[in-house]
Subunit: 253 residues, 2 copies
Amino acid sequence: MARTIAVVSQKGGVGKTTTVVHLGVALAERGVPTLLVDLDPQAALTAAFGLNEDLSLTIEASLMKGIAITQVIRNVRPSLDIIPASFQLNQAELSLHQRPRWPYRLREALQPIQGRYAYILIDAPPGLGPLTVNAIAAADAFLVPIRPDYLSLRSLKGLLIAIGRLRQQLGLSIELLGILPTMVQLHLRHHRDVLAELTAAFGRKVFQVFIPQSIRFAEAPVAGQSLLDYMASHPGAQAYRRLAALIEEAGGG
Amino acid sequence: MARTIAVVSQKGGVGKTTTVVHLGVALAERGVPTLLVDLDPQAALTAAFGLNEDLSLTIEASLMKGIAITQVIRNVRPSLDIIPASFQLNQAELSLHQRPRWPYRLREALQPIQGRYAYILIDAPPGLGPLTVNAIAAADAFLVPIRPDYLSLRSLKGLLIAIGRLRQQLGLSIELLGILPTMVQLHLRHHRDVLAELTAAFGRKVFQVFIPQSIRFAEAPVAGQSLLDYMASHPGAQAYRRLAALIEEAGGG
Ligand SMILES: Nc1ncnc2c1ncn2[C@@H]1O[C@H](COP(=O)(O)OP(=O)(O)OP(=O)(O)O)[C@@H](O)[C@H]1O
Ligand SMILES: Nc1ncnc2c1ncn2[C@@H]1O[C@H](COP(=O)(O)OP(=O)(O)OP(=O)(O)O)[C@@H](O)[C@H]1O
Ligand SMILES: [Mg+2]
Ligand SMILES: [Mg+2]
């Protein structure tokens, strides 16, 4: 039975896609069978693995047209599968509401394959629209990447309140897995100040792994690779490996 | 008759809010009567001016409850008004669809006050949800901030296609005002490569002003100020002043 983790944030550009790519590859490197689900119409996760976003068989086909999920799964490397997205998901974002049981469509689509994987990671779009609601309703836990700046910290509080409300309205038992500081530059006082405030507010819910800022993360998708392949010994790559280890240990497996 | 500009991007965290803040203040510094509209449930624009997001009279009241727009306008400095947002907009994002003529609610709400301002700038949430559609339907032109990295460039093409489609479906005459490179670090080869590709693809649509990366932009909202006040002679502040001048000249006034 897979542990399903939704990677979400209301703030944009905080490293959700980068975290799903690198945590996914780091888990697969450990031989842990992992599935990545691209739920973002930008299809950035899909592009980060070198897949063309003009694919016709994507998550949109399963969510909106009832195509079996097994038809849209693609293998990208040992122990790592992906369900790609495409720009067609933009239509889904605006018409999903009209479907019966619209918040649960992803959960129901993933049901048949839960047994195949130890981890399912869902890359959500920024914000709290219907696709993000689907990600949350499908997950056991959620992970929130955050850039260590003031506007990101402010936005985090709004997100936690909103997810608490969703949890009640939809009768979910989703838990906060943790908060991941990304794009960190410890030499900047503003970053240190925000990290201190984050730790004061959320204690052990803040992962003791910080992902450092590095242009290599921006370059890696050009090669259709993760940094773990593009520059395996880079400190950023090592940080995501440590995160994978932490998550596996915490999961009791 | 105001010139209404929607600041949009599908990619998150590219500087939409920061651009609306600084372009707005730069126009007001020139004595140009300007209105800023916060259309994002994160209410980051609202916070950047030191306003509390627990306000009851926000854009949500006008969009969803028919409260007159004049009741929700706040003045923040000479020649600069703001219509604030709050986290209540999260509800609007999910229920806006059910309203009659839902894409045009912002346009209709702003109609009575178009004559008061030379410029109305709309800060949209990331993505292409119903709030962003309202921003686009209310505007004469749209401006797209972009970080000079590969995933942002990829996302830009999807956005322009989507806006083209909306333009047709809703019968709009909105034009692309320009693409604004933000958080630029010219010493990074990846940034120079992406900027070159951007200029090759979009030519004169790329503003000849680049907003430099600087931690000062992240610090300014803590003080509830724009960088134009926090550090008036900073290169980032000067860049936004140049952008305001360019936009005013191009607008023929
Ligand atoms: N640690 C890092 N250092 C430097 N750049 C990074 C880092 N992590 C991610 N990036 C880059 O920053 C940009 C934003 O990251 P990413 O796309 O992962 O964020 P996101 O939260 O998924 O954004 P969105 O809200 O648009 O979905 C990307 O170009 C990415 O390659
Ligand atoms: N030129 C810059 N240099 C450094 N930091 C910046 C710059 N411009 C903006 N920032 C900071 O980067 C973060 C993201 O910027 P901002 O919130 O303006 O982006 P956005 O596109 O509005 O994000 P969202 O998609 O969440 O609405 C903020 O903390 C902001 O203060
Ligand atoms: Mg993403
Ligand atoms: Mg914003």
